[in-house]
């Protein structure tokens, strides 16, 4: 025999108001909020590390600044997101200067100098070099020598900060 609810129950219109219990959610949000406030930095991330390489670690404490972006990954040398030379070619060549990189750098330098003349935007010759941590020294030196000879003497190496 099927269950027949009592007369009173038949007329009851279910629970009045569905209340969501938010206490645990609030707890979680508070913890996340506190954590994020703690790691928050007002400067934000001005420089995006490239995804094709692993930067070396260092105990340096200076914050990176925005400058012309030169990435030396395992295979390519990339200037402002445009590949300019192959690392393998650089390794093979005997010259200290990388011609294709120099050409591109001089283009950027000329543009920046024009900007300086027209709008007074100062050109400091700053360049940020992102190199893979396994890069041999000879490639690094060639890249830096090229930068120095192409009006970019103000070089900075981008590294991961190691908490010491």
């Amino acid at each position: 025999m099927a269950f027949i609810p009592s007369r009173a129950k038949r007329h009851a219109t279910g629970p009045g108001e569905a209340k969501l219990n938010l206490t645990s959610m609030m707890d979680m949000f508070t913890i996340i909020l506190l954590f994020l406030l703690k790691v928050y930095s007002t400067e934000g991330q001005m420089v995006q590390p490239s995804e094709y390489l692993t930067l070396p670690k260092s105990s340096v404490e200076k914050h990176p600044q925005v400058a012309l972006d030169l990435v030396v990954s395992k295979e390519w040398i990339v200037l402002n997101n445009r590949p300019v030379a192959k690392v393998a070619d650089v390794l093979a060549s005997k010259s200290l200067i990388i011609p294709s990189l120099q050409q591109e750098l001089l283009k950027y330098a000329n543009e920046a100098e024009k900007m300086q003349q027209r709008y007074g935007q100062e050109f400091s010759g700053a360049i940020t070099i992102q190199g893979d941590k396994d890069l041999p020294y000879r490639v690094l030196v060639k890249v830096m020598a090229t930068c120095g000879k192409s009006k970019y003497p103000n070089m900075r190496l981008l590294v991961y900060q190691r908490s010491s």
Partner: protein, 179 residues
């Protein structure tokens, strides 16, 4: 006579619950905002110091300008066997009298700790005597990897004493070997 509420009131007490909606709104806005601007990996920047006279013209050749003052010209050379230290005064010898000044550890790692200590000793003697007592030139063999060079720069930058870190040779120049 003071007012007294009726004792006959049969209404059950509503349980007082704070209205969390505005707090929730705040959280929903703040958490994505902070998440996007959070810096989980901290980046740093090493400035490479070029000798002033060689700026732009001669990079990575460590050509010091001609000056009559006493120059230290401290140079660390990274080789496969370890570090060689040299200055305009003398070449620092290893404990055995030959080979690298600071050989690699037995497990094949570079001994950055020892380099750091030795540079601290040199700094104590050189400070004030030489004009370039905050400069160091780093030379490496062509096959040394970038990370080792960066660690060497770290070892040359500061030394941790009980009173806090002491700056050693923060102005780094890189020099090329024969390619």
């Amino acid at each position: 006579m003071a007012f007294r509420p009726s004792q006959r009131s049969r209404r059950p007490k509503e349980n007082a619950e704070p209205n969390l909606t505005p707090v929730m709104n705040l959280m929903v806005v703040l958490i994505p905002l902070l998440l996007t601007s959070a810096e989980f990996i901290k980046l740093g920047m090493i400035e490479i110091n070029l000798p002033p006279a060689a700026r732009g013209a001669r990079v990575a050749q460590a050509q010091m300008p001609k000056e009559t003052e006493k120059k230290l010209n401290l140079t660390v050379t990274i080789t496969d066997e370890g570090f060689y230290l040299a200055s305009s005064m003398a070449v620092a010898l290893g404990e055995s009298g030959e080979g690298p000044t600071i050989p690699k550890k037995p497990n094949g790692e570079y001994d950055f700790q020892k380099l750091n200590e030795l540079l601290y000793k040199i700094k104590k003697q050189a400070a004030g005597v030489f004009k370039d007592s905050d400069q160091i030139i780093i030379v490496a063999e062509p096959e040394i990897d970038y990370q080792t060079v960066v660690f060497t720069m770290d070892a040359a930058r500061s030394y941790k004493t009980d009173q806090g870190p002491v700056a050693l040779f923060p102005k780094v120049s890189l020099s090329a070997t024969v390619m």
